[in-house]
Point group: D2
């Protein structure tokens, strides 16, 4: 039985690509996303065609019990989860304070902070029994500094970062590796950036900054670092790192 890499937030960007990469390393990739059943099925199919194992599930992470039940079912039916890739974002674009409703603010927290807490609460006791496990948390610039029009996003990601530090402080010595990965730039991902910008603007951005310019972060290259983090020997674990395109300034410089 293959060990499982469970991806929560498995779109066509970082999440799905990391899942695919772990499948190539002989993990059973369990891919969960909220919508787009067809996209999910295609991703599973691609992995299988490459000779890997994969399963796909639609999952609305903010629904009560949704993540918890999925984790229990995967453990029972597919195998022990060795790696959790937590890839839910809470980016909703720029909104002034007055444009940010209570509902939107709460939703950001439910997705980026509370869902991670629920996942860890369910999975960490299982990993602890096995004495090992990895959780790779995709994060963003908003986790390390707030900004205008980022009230919901920054509050959610900032809470998440402190949660990751808390989880690591409690569970690292029990063999669970928690890594907080600060994605400090734009990812070449049609499902997230593409949707936010619209098809035309996204293509324009790709031509100007991405493609051979390498100024958009490539998911398959990001996946290499996710894999490396998981493979780190337990005497040398990384808790936090940043990732950005060589041509971008770091967040502290702009």
């Amino acid at each position: 039985m293959k060990p499982v890499c469970l991806v929560i937030g498995a779109g066509a960007g970082i999440g799905g690509t990391v899942g695919k990469r772990f499948a190539q390393e002989n993990y059973h990739a369990v891919l969960c996303r909220r919508s787009n059943e067809e996209g999910l099925a295609n991703l599973v199919l691609q992995i299988k065609e490459e000779g890997g194992d994969a399963s796909g599930f639609l999952l609305n992470a903010v629904d009560e019990g949704s993540i918890e039940e999925r984790i229990v079912a995967v453990e029972a039916e597919i195998g022990p989860i060795e790696v959790l890739v937590f890839n839910l974002g809470a980016q909703i674009g720029n909104r002034t304070l007055e444009e940010t409703s209570n509902k939107v603010f709460e939703l950001g927290w439910r997705m980026a902070t509370f869902a991670l807490f629920r996942a860890a609460s369910t999975l960490f006791p299982l990993m602890e029994k096995r004495g090992k496990g990895t959780i790779l948390v995709t994060s963003s610039t908003a986790a390390v500094r707030g900004n205008a029009q980022q009230h919901s996003h920054a509050a959610a990601m900032g809470g998440r970062r402190m949660l990751c530090q808390s989880l690591s402080a409690e569970y690292a010595s029990k063999g669970i590796h928690v890594a907080h990965i600060v994605i400090d730039g734009s990812v070449d991902a049609p499902d997230t950036l593409g949707k936010m910008l619209g098809a035309e603007k996204f293509q324009q951005l790709r031509e100007e900054k991405g493609m051979e310019h390498d100024g958009l972060m490539l998911p398959e290259k990001i996946a290499e670092t996710y894999l490396h983090l998981h493979k780190q020997h337990r005497s040398v674990w990384t808790h936090e790192l940043d990732l950005r395109a060589y041509s971008d300034l770091a967040w502290w410089n702009h």
Copy 2:
């Protein structure tokens, strides 16, 4: 008509004492706390006996609309709020991940993060019209680093810190001063530390570390810094500072 200093979380520690200090500076102190009507009435009475103006209201900050309605009522009935002291904590003592229920985790966020968002959403547009205002946010070590058994607290305070940065980025240039005050140590406060430890242990701690040793942070001394922050000229605003007893190590050293 006196300008108003509204304190949310006005117990016998930082909140009430800061309110009293602003009353001495000719503000009408509006003190809100969740419970202990008698303690609240005493605080209001003390301020009045000193010749100041004060009003007290019981307020459950996590109740929908509670903060919003109080702000609107204060503005209508007492006067424009020039200073908001946001002093709600979310410290629940040490709890392992397994001991932290979803409900507790959510409550921490509702008090420390969401309540601040709701307060700012209601008050900032009013302050913006007046071209000025100050919000002094009491924060804690957990806002800058997570720790074992601090999952709920750290996630809530970390989110709050990023929210404060976001609010400041959007509103400072409109004349609203947002200050995030990291209380990095134990406060000599019967309502919070006293309750957490119990009367006997608290008294013991006071005798060993507090009192003439000055190793517990004194609320009336903290209040001087709150007042100073409010009085800073707009060409030299502080967004964040730390406070700790001289005899304590900084959070980054222990």
Copy 3:
């Protein structure tokens, strides 16, 4: 005998103004600067005309023994130094790596880092015997994040910040208050900003951003916060704070 406030780096900006402010609080202001004997004499005269006590000394802080001898002489001839305002900068404007000579890089360190170490090495043992003392260190954005063309400045200030934390960790419990003040913006100071820009550009900047716009940091307002830091009760000391004009973005937002 009045207690002494020794200012190292007492030009017409922060240093001299802070010295003047402490003189108003009944300190003997001892003002040291590298050059401009006339400016120094004028500053001393102003303080005396206001009824304060002041002395002025030319001092090249990078000269071996210069700071050490001055501290010893002040203690012997004027009085115990209760407050040290360490206000030496190392800003040399923007220079690419290739434009930054070894000599310039070293000079930055000698002024901003090594001179502080030498001052603390000489003064802290004296303050320790008296069980009290304050050192207020003027710092800058470059202490918390590097940037292009800031190699010398950032390396010097970054080292200084870590030195301040080290000094505080070792001496706070002995009664010495170390405060690191991050000046995150342009100060309305003819001696530093004025010299760097030239008279004409400086005046233009003052008219566009400073003066009634309050977008340049006013030294006399900065001085209020320096004074407040010194006056903080030892149960509630601040180690680090930032200062910037309300109309400026924080360093983490640009």
Copy 4:
């Protein structure tokens, strides 16, 4: 001709081991260290016996021109330096302020900060012409927070960290990858930790915490992360990460 990986500070711990790892990846490892010619020769021999290419040079990094001349000579005689591993530490054990002489304080800076500046000043223009290059800088906890008895070390490493950020801000877009690696724990290295503790205590520590406990950081495992950083695609570079044993608390938790 093989590309060169130049290691400055190539002892039996991180430096030499990283050099060896790059040699396995088909780099010519050029190993420089201050002393122990025999140890250096052995290391070179080991690499050659494994089929790799290596050269060794004694080099006192603080000597004027030493690093500069070595870089020029390597480029002329061995090949273009693609990777620089800058592994000079400045740890001198715990020393109070009074025990820290001016000379010791300066030496720390000369090794940890100035030597890096000199290396970058010499090498970056060459790398810039080639449009690529990597510099991997071994750093330590002292770079991110000062502590008692760490005056020299923290000031040197803190300056170094800000220098790394400055170098990256100026050169990343020119194709030079600067990575700052925070080693937050004890490395299982006889040359550094072993010398600091003495043979007996070091062996005791290894038995209690290291070996099968994996509580001491293993240089050959650290080397994997150094290699990974170098191999990162330029669309996804890491500037900073931390490394520590799973059983150690992060610096912000102790």
